[in-house]
Symmetry: C2
């Protein structure tokens, strides 16, 4: 935790659980990503953390925005973004929502199926569209299902049809998987994308844009490559596959923009053992799977968790405060906490700026959603 957040927690002693997010770190991340990929436009993935303070900061820094719903579009506009800086990146949209976004001035839409393309053509005539293709997602820590994207062959057919339907076939997108630590994943996806560009060119359709998606990681329990390393790998892959005809590119960082900017302050509610000879303590926190730590599902995202105690660290099972037996955070992952840990102690969960506040449930078990302080 940095000094600014530590000072805030010290002076304000906010009730726990809460998320404290340092806007200066968001700014650093924005600049690091912009430096690493100077030719790419940055579309912040609003879903990672839509706090108005974050959106206003990113507007002032020149960012664009990747949105998942009309509500998110309206939040961006309210924060001062112009509609030409907003992409409606969800491939699953109600036609009424497309029409609404179009009426608000949004002109860039994602699709991955003929039905979605038809909806866009009807509700947002003249818009620019990009088709999302399926990639493997190997190496990503958050599971990438086959939910989004279509195979490149289908993408080709749809992008060929687009112009006749009254929209502009603008580009291709992919996503290598969230918290992607394998830099070579972009190379494979860009090889597929470049082939698609060539095939379409041969059939008279010139695409202009590659949406490189997100996947930029934040540091949890182990180190991750730097933005510069990602920039270098992506730049090399672009040159390898597109030669001297590199298209416009955009990136959609979410976790990589805000993850390490936030820490969750929590409190130990209970420490117990299940029997006299139980070899692991159970440590129950005042935040769990339904209060903001949804990404601990299947122990996928493993946050770094610290306390101020200095005792010898011994294995624990970590769980949340609700009456739900599924609300266990970490049981298989090897978490250790000091033997002198006490009920009432503060616990710090690092790298928690992304996918926490809005994942929190409305009021499960009567617990309030996670409070956030942007400082």
């Amino acid at each position: 935790m940095n000094d600014k957040i530590a000072r805030f927690l010290d002076e304000r002693r906010p009730a726990t659980p809460c998320l404290v997010l340092d806007l200066d770190v968001v700014e650093e991340n924005y600049r690091a990503l912009a430096d690493a990929l100077p030719e790419s436009r940055i579309y912040y993935a609003v879903k990672a953390n839509p706090a108005p303070e974050i959106l206003r900061l990113l507007v002032s820094l020149g960012s664009s925005f990747d949105t998942a719903s009309v509500n998110e579009i309206e939040m961006c506009l309210a924060a001062g973004a112009t509609a030409d800086r907003v992409s409606y990146g969800n491939t699953i949209k109600k036609e009424a929502d497309i029409a609404r976004a179009h009426a608000l001035g949004v002109r860039l839409f994602a699709f991955d199926s003929v039905a979605e393309l038809e909806k866009i053509a009807r509700a947002a005539p003249g818009a620019r569209v990009f088709c999302r293709i399926l990639t493997s997602g190997e190496g990503a820590e958050w599971p990438l299902s086959r939910k989004f994207g279509c195979d490149p062959e289908m993408a080709r057919g749809l992008l060929l049809q687009a112009a006749a339907m009254g929209v502009e076939p603008y580009g291709v997108s992919f996503h290598v998987g969230s918290q992607q630590k394998d830099l070579s994943q972009w190379d494979g996806a860009l090889a597929q994308t470049a082939l698609l560009f060539k095939e379409l060119e041969a059939q008279g359709v010139t695409l202009r844009m590659v949406n490189l998606g997100g996947g930029f990681p934040t540091r949890y329990r182990s180190d991750v490559p730097s933005p510069a390393a990602y920039g270098h790998a992506i730049d090399e892959a672009l040159r390898r596959h597109f030669g001297n005809r590199i298209p416009e590119t955009i990136i959609e960082p979410g976790r990589g923009m805000v993850g390490n900017a936030g820490v969750i302050q929590s409190e130990v509610v209970l420490i117990s053992r299940k029997s006299a000879n139980d070899n692991r303590r159970w440590v129950y926190l005042d935040i769990g799977k339904f209060g903001g730590l949804a990404e601990t599902m299947d122990e996928a995202i493993q946050y770094s968790i610290t306390t101020e105690r200095a005792g010898r660290a011994e294995p624990v099972i970590l769980a949340g405060p609700t009456c739900d037996s599924a609300d266990v955070l970490y049981e298989r992952a090897d978490y250790r906490l000091p033997t002198d840990l006490k009920i009432g102690d503060r616990i710090t969960i690092h790298g928690a700026g992304a996918y926490t506040t809005t994942y929190a449930s409305v009021a499960f078990n009567g617990f309030e959603p996670l409070r956030q302080y942007c400082i």
Copy 2:
């Protein structure tokens, strides 16, 4: 869906997604459970669905309430319950919350560890306490972890200490696992409980109450035993293990009280395939894992899902509307929907009255939490 709900949907055409819950069904469930276990007091597990209309109805029917937090206690009191009808059943409580509950008049508290017992003794002197023991949970559809309960040996030691600490050792609780369809599970748990009663009696501590927990199922895709069958199995097990000294018993139905009272109305947002030769359609709904269907986690709870179309049913993958690749509802479970299903069609998700509204995320992807109509 019953006629009352069908009429409401027909006349009001509420925006989707929404949950419509028939209070008459809740009343029927309450009466069926009361008839099935006439000697037991019913403590409704508020976390299943804390709608004020449900709480007020159950107050009027004479129900008591099992609560997980001070907020839930306050909701029960606001609905007209007196504090002597409220149990603070969470074994993980902040000491300040115990004190708050005590100040509100609550006198019945759960624990499963020495540290929790100490907190209760300090913050709620004189209260009745019951110790939760670990049971296996085999046969339950929702995973039962080792999160709650301690082994009976530890329970015995703690209940022995309780009186000296200034609280009343009142009973034992267990939970056979949510959506438990194996009636024999209560027998095993009651055998353990009766042994504990006897051992403590021999050491001078007479317990008065067995909390039989929840686990009473609701019908999803397949039939479940009737409340009467549960009542019969539990009654037999009580006689077998306690003979003619049957203690007070309480039950904590949640899912069994409200599950089948509610249906979710949803809309098909998109139907697509991932390639020309994809053999399964993807059907995307306007509700998903983060909008109320959290219990589809690992495809654990399998809702019955219907449409008004009559075409031949063919396999589908069902997914939610968010930009999260984990927001897939059913991929391995064999779900089928009519081949003539269209985008914009209404979809009905049955048995959705429990663990949906409050599980919904605050605003993930900018989508609003699930709306509920109690009729």
